[in-house]
């Protein structure tokens, strides 16, 4: 019987050795260790042995069984590992194939710039307001110190609806609307569409501005410079500097043009800034006391500053957009480029 055990054991170990798949190993287990397997059958024969022989044979048989089982386990582990490795190998993909991107939309660069700018001024306590695009002559011009037939009307080519109504030529009429309806302190930025009868390579008859207005008891030109410096550094870079130059707007006095150091060359002089190191970005000034008085705010007590800037111009500088027409063609190859940026 011992020899029989040995022989079955040898056969089983050989079968384990020969098996190479999980399935074959399962068959080996059934054949030798299953309910009617060879080793199990042999165990059933133990009862026929003498009382003296039984323990020894039982021990031998158990040892053989354990040996087979352990060989089997070992082999199963091996095969499992190999099969898993094969499966994983078969599942390999070309990791350079394109990913499954969800469709991603974009906001128009004008919207992006608008919100970037608004954010800067919200941080400085400004509120946001908007106003009508079809505007009365009164608000668009007269309350801003531009009477009818005044030469300053030539500064802007106006679209007229009739003698009393125009398409607003700037966001400035909202200055008058704020001043006639609010009590100081006022701090507001007013983004919106504006219209000028001007259509050439560098002008669009529709464009966007943001107006800023701050009215309080004691506001200085220095505050204007501080505010606009904060704005320019947020929009362009931390190192950006601004420069005020004298200019003229009927509704501010003194009036200034504001230049920023060229974002392209950092102020050294390049093609974009025409070698000057400065790029003009907006007009501003101290609110003209005449305007305050016309709008019902006592200019003896209150003063303030106002500024207005073109969003297209800022976007063109910020994104390097060469042509204002691109904003209004709405070619998706243009629009898809502006999907936000990481602030640094």
């Amino acid at each position: 019987m011992k020899a029989q055990i040995q022989s079955i054991k040898q056969a089983a170990l050989a079968a384990v050795e020969a098996a190479s798949t999980t399935q074959e190993l399962g068959e080996v287990r059934v054949r030798f260790l299953g309910k009617s397997g060879e080793m199990t059958s042999l165990m059933k024969g133990l009862g026929a042995l003498s009382k003296e022989e039984r323990p020894e044979m039982g021990k031998v048989m158990n040892e053989a069984r354990t040996e087979i089982e352990s060989a089997l386990e070992k082999k199963i582990a091996e095969v499992n590992a190999r099969e898993k490795a094969e499966r994983l190998a078969a599942e390999a993909v070309d990791v350079t194939l394109p990913g499954k991107k969800p469709a991603r939309g974009t906001l128009h660069p004008i919207t992006r710039v608008r919100e970037d700018i608004v954010k800067v001024f919200l941080g400085m306590g400004f509120e946001v307001a908007e106003g009508p695009e079809i505007e009365s002559d009164l608000y668009n011009f007269q309350l801003l110190n531009v009477p009818k037939d005044h030469p300053a009307r030539d500064m802007q080519d106006t679209f007229y609806v009739n003698d009393s109504y125009v398409l607003r030529t700037h966001t400035s009429p909202m200055q008058a609307r704020m001043m006639t309806t609010r009590k100081p302190p006022i701090r507001v930025v007013i983004p919106g569409r504006v219209y000028r009868s001007d259509d050439d390579a560098s002008h669009s008859p529709i464009f966007h501005q943001i107006e800023g207005l701050a009215i309080d008891k004691h506001i200085t030109l220095g505050d204007l410079e501080g505010c606009l410096t904060a704005f320019a550094q947020q929009m362009f870079s931390r190192d950006t500097q601004i420069r005020l130059r004298p200019s003229y707007f009927p509704f501010t006095e003194p009036s200034v043009e504001v230049d920023v150091t060229c974002a392209i060359c950092g102020g050294k002089g390049c093609r974009v800034c025409k070698g000057t190191g400065w790029v003009e970005i907006l007009g501003a000034g101290v609110v003209n006391p005449t305007v305050l008085d016309m709008c019902g705010i006592d200019s003896k007590v209150y003063g303030g500053f106002a500024f207005g800037l073109g969003l297209e111009r800022i976007a063109m500088i910020k994104y390097g957009i060469p042509n204002i027409k691109l904003f209004y063609e709405n070619d998706v190859r243009f629009l898809r480029q502006f999907n936000g940026e990481v602030e640094k």
Binding site: I110, V128, D223
Partner: protein
């Protein structure tokens, strides 16, 4: 304003480069938009002497000239019949002429030519600029001219011209002299006065002409002087060159003098031929309604009674300040002239010039406004030039009809006030010296009050802020240091809810894969026909512009869809296989026409798509995605809008209010837009959507027990919509119903004619326990019964 530096130098010493001067002018408020170098209009054109000239061996009309260009002799082939010994100008190899043409050495009929002989046009001049220069001839220089020098420089054509942008508050600086004063301030030096020097004859101007001003409001001052025995000839070369440099064509000595004074002093002048002033009278009066005048340009104008006319005893001889009449011009045989030097109200000139569509250098100048002192100064300057050029005999005296006016305006201020405006320290002595330099003397009053005595010419200065500006533009803005509301209170700031809502909608639509676009607010009135808008629709009531850039941009849109369709088609025809876009913008709706109050401006959202996966359900899905984000529920009902596909369009409503549509654009309409793809669009009223939004999310408990799903297929009539069925299921009273959706619609023979089978999937769940079979069966019974009642639905066998 074009300002030749040589002309500025008549009054102020300029010892810096034109670029530096430009920089200094910008710093005090005069933007310089360009610097033109006359001598650089052409390059490498040199004076030369033709040493010897021979006939070309192979061409009768060509000559070969050995040309001395100063120390070197080159060979030039020319078709000009030149002779040896003549002095002229030659463009050398590599020269670029004023018209951009480049000169290269080369062979002409087999003979080497190393240059080209030049006329005035080749260096950017005109024959009439140069005394003795014949039209069509090459340049000529006198014997002994230094050879090899720049031809333009040799002719004195070497001015540098600044293009200065003068702001509307400084009309006085639209003149060389006043600009020179600013240059003097910029360079911290002094300015000289233009010369006034002439002698008069015994004749008295008052015996020659009389002036009556009937409307002194429109003509506060009218001055006249007379010149007898006038000789008409071309004005001196220097005057001609200067006029041309500022863009004025020289005509004759008298006309040129008026233009010269206009440019130099800023005073428009007019010269009348006395022969055409009937009765020797000048009457300044309002035109009679319908009165005609034919102006110098040959145009017949009909004037109105609000316009000012210069008349003689009988008729208008000029539109005041705008243009003279046809006979008022100077003729070769003119013998006595009357110079007009007047001040007209700028708004009147502006209105008249626009109404008659007549423009002139004078009207442009008058519109900007001129001061009281200029009339006399201009007149004296003109007479000085008459004397200087020997153009005639000057009668003594002036006619001067004027209203009373203050020559000096006092403005009181303190340095503290200025400092408060600027936010920087204001040193009093510096302030006073700067103002004095600007021609504004300052005196001290009691206490700290200062008084600025502002001359009439500075009409822009009438308050402390103006004084602050005059000071700081010279003192320098760099003295102002940035502060952040150093003296004022905190304010709260913030974004109004409707603007925040719009921003959210934009972000959600971008998150749903759409690209934002921005289109023009005005469009062609043809949009209404293209979209087949009915004749009585409010969408056809629009605000129209009186001066549009063209009919295609002439009306304010009442709907955004049209613009969106144009953008979709633009993209489709520009290599873009698909696009999904949105825009949020206003539409404009007049309360009454013609416009007498502000129109309603309504904010709308339009979406549009084509190509890729675009179809009705993709467009609808965008709206559903948006509605989910806004916590509202949209309802969709078949629409009969005329521009939609009759079977693929829905009216969209929220809380029972119709807010817009979604659908496929009718193929016939798409064809109108030249679309070769199917177009899908939706337009919603954003304002109403905002009002119907109730805010954000509130937590709802979800079950920890597994949900149970059940499918049900029922047969209903073709006309029953899935939307109505789902709504019926939701209202059936099945309390544990979590969701219901249609997942298949089947039509076929087994279902029957006019019927369809709708397969629905329901999900049930309870937060308290795992639902039992009995409970679910009960719920399904409720659902089925609701469907049976509402739609006569039958369970599909």
């Amino acid at each position: 304003m074009l300002a030749p530096i040589s002309w500025l130098k008549d009054y102020v010493d300029i010892n810096v480069s034109p670029e530096k001067l430009a920089e200094k002018l910008v710093a005090i408020g005069f933007e310089v938009e360009g610097i033109e170098y006359q001598a650089k209009k052409a390059s490498l054109v040199k004076t030369c002497k033709l040493v010897s000239v021979e006939k070309h061996p192979a061409a009768d009309r060509l000559r070969v000239a050995q040309t001395d260009i100063g120390g070197k002799v080159i060979q030039v082939v020319t078709n000009v019949p030149v002779e040896g010994g003549e002095y002229t100008a030659v463009a050398l190899d590599g020269a670029v002429l004023a018209d951009g043409h480049e000169i290269k050495r080369g062979e002409l009929r087999g003979v080497l030519s190393e240059g080209m002989l030049c006329g005035p046009e080749e260096i950017g001049m005109s024959a009439s600029d140069i005394d003795g220069q014949k039209e069509g001839d090459i340049l000529r220089f006198p014997e002994g001219t230094e050879l090899g020098q720049d031809a333009a420089t040799a002719l004195g054509f070497d001015d540098v011209i600044l293009d200065v942008s003068v702001t509307a508050n400084r009309p006085d600086c639209n003149s060389i002299y006043k600009l020179a004063k600013e240059v003097a301030v910029a360079l911290d030096t002094t300015c000289r006065e233009p010369e006034i020097k002439y002698t008069v004859t015994d004749a008295d101007v008052n015996d020659i002409v009389s002036v009556r001003v009937e409307n002194s409001k429109l003509c506060p001052r009218y001055m006249a002087a007379a010149v007898k025995n006038v000789k008409i000839f071309p004005s001196p070369e220097k005057m001609r060159m200067r006029l041309r440099a500022v863009g004025i064509r020289p005509i004759n000595n008298i006309v040129d003098i008026t233009n010269y004074v206009l440019t130099e002093i800023g005073q428009p002048m007019h010269a009348f031929d006395l022969r055409y002033l009937s009765g020797g009278k000048i009457v300044v009066r309002n035109a009679r309604e319908g009165e005609h005048i034919v102006t110098l340009d040959g145009k017949d104008n009909v004037m109105t009674s609000s316009m000012l006319a210069i008349c003689d005893a009988e008729k208008p001889v000029a539109v005041a300040g705008v243009m003279g009449g046809e006979h008022s011009g100077i003729q070769p045989d003119t013998s006595t002239i009357i110079f007009e030097s007047a001040k007209f109200a700028r708004d009147s000139i502006r209105r008249t010039s626009r109404a008659l569509n007549l423009r002139s250098d004078s009207s442009a100048r008058y519109e900007k406004g001129i001061d009281f002192a200029s009339q006399e100064y201009g007149l004296k300057r003109a007479l000085t030039l008459i004397a200087e050029t020997g153009s005639g005999e000057i009668a003594s005296g002036f006619v001067d009809v004027k209203v009373e006016h203050d020559e000096i305006r006092d403005v009181e201020f303190t340095t503290a006030e200025i400092s408060r405006i600027l936010g920087c320290a204001v040193p009093e002595r510096r302030l006073i010296s700067i103002l004095l330099k600007l021609g504004i003397p300052v005196t001290k009053k009691e206490g700290k009050t200062l008084v600025a005595h502002v001359p009439d010419a500075r009409s822009d200065i009438d308050g402390v802020n103006d004084i602050a500006e005059e000071f700081i533009r010279v003192y320098g803005y760099s003295h102002i240091k940035p502060t952040l509301f150093a003296h004022s209170v905190l304010t709260r700031g913030g974004v109004p809810a409707d603007i925040a809502f719009r921003n959210k909608v934009k972000e959600e639509l971008a998150a749903l894969g759409l690209n934002e676009c921005i289109t023009y607010s005005f469009t062609s009135p043809s949009f209404a026909d293209k979209l087949r808008i009915p004749a009585d629709s409010p969408w056809r009531r629009w605000v129209e512009l009186v001066n549009p850039l063209g009919e295609a941009l002439s009306v304010m849109r009442t709907v955004l869809t049209h613009s969106m369709l144009e953008v979709l088609c633009f993209n489709a025809s520009h290599f873009n296989k698909s696009a999904a876009l949105f825009e949020i913008a206003k539409t404009y709706h007049p309360h009454s026409l013609p416009l007498a109050e502000l129109p309603e401006e309504r904010e709308k959202l339009v979406i549009g798509m084509y190509g890729g996966d675009a179809d009705y359900f993709a467009a609808k899905g965008v709206l559903e995605g948006l509605f989910d984000a806004l916590h509202v529920r949209g309802e969709f009902k078949a629409s009969d809008l005329p521009f939609l596909h009759p079977g693929r369009g829905a009216d969209v409503s929220v809380n029972g209010k119709v807010i817009g549509y979604v659908g496929e654009i009718h193929p016939d309409v798409a064809e109108e837009y030249d679309a070769d793809v199917r177009l899908y669009a939706a337009e919603l009223d954003l304002r109403t959507l905002f009002e119907e939004c109730k805010g954000g999310a509130t937590f709802r408990e979800f079950s920890k027990y597994p949900p149970v799903e059940r499918d049900l297929a029922v047969v209903v009539a073709e006309s029953v919509t899935a939307g109505d069925m789902i709504r019926s299921v939701e209202n059936a009273g099945a309390r544990s119903l979590l969701s219901a959706e249609v997942f298949d619609v089947y039509r076929g023979a087994q279902v029957g004619e006019g019927l369809k089978s709708v397969a629905m999937r329901f999900s049930f769940s309870s937060t308290e326990h795992t639902l039992t079979e009995e409970e679910i069966a009960g719920e399904m019974k409720l659902i089925l019964s609701a469907l049976e009642t509402a739609f006569d639905a039958k369970i599909r066998a």
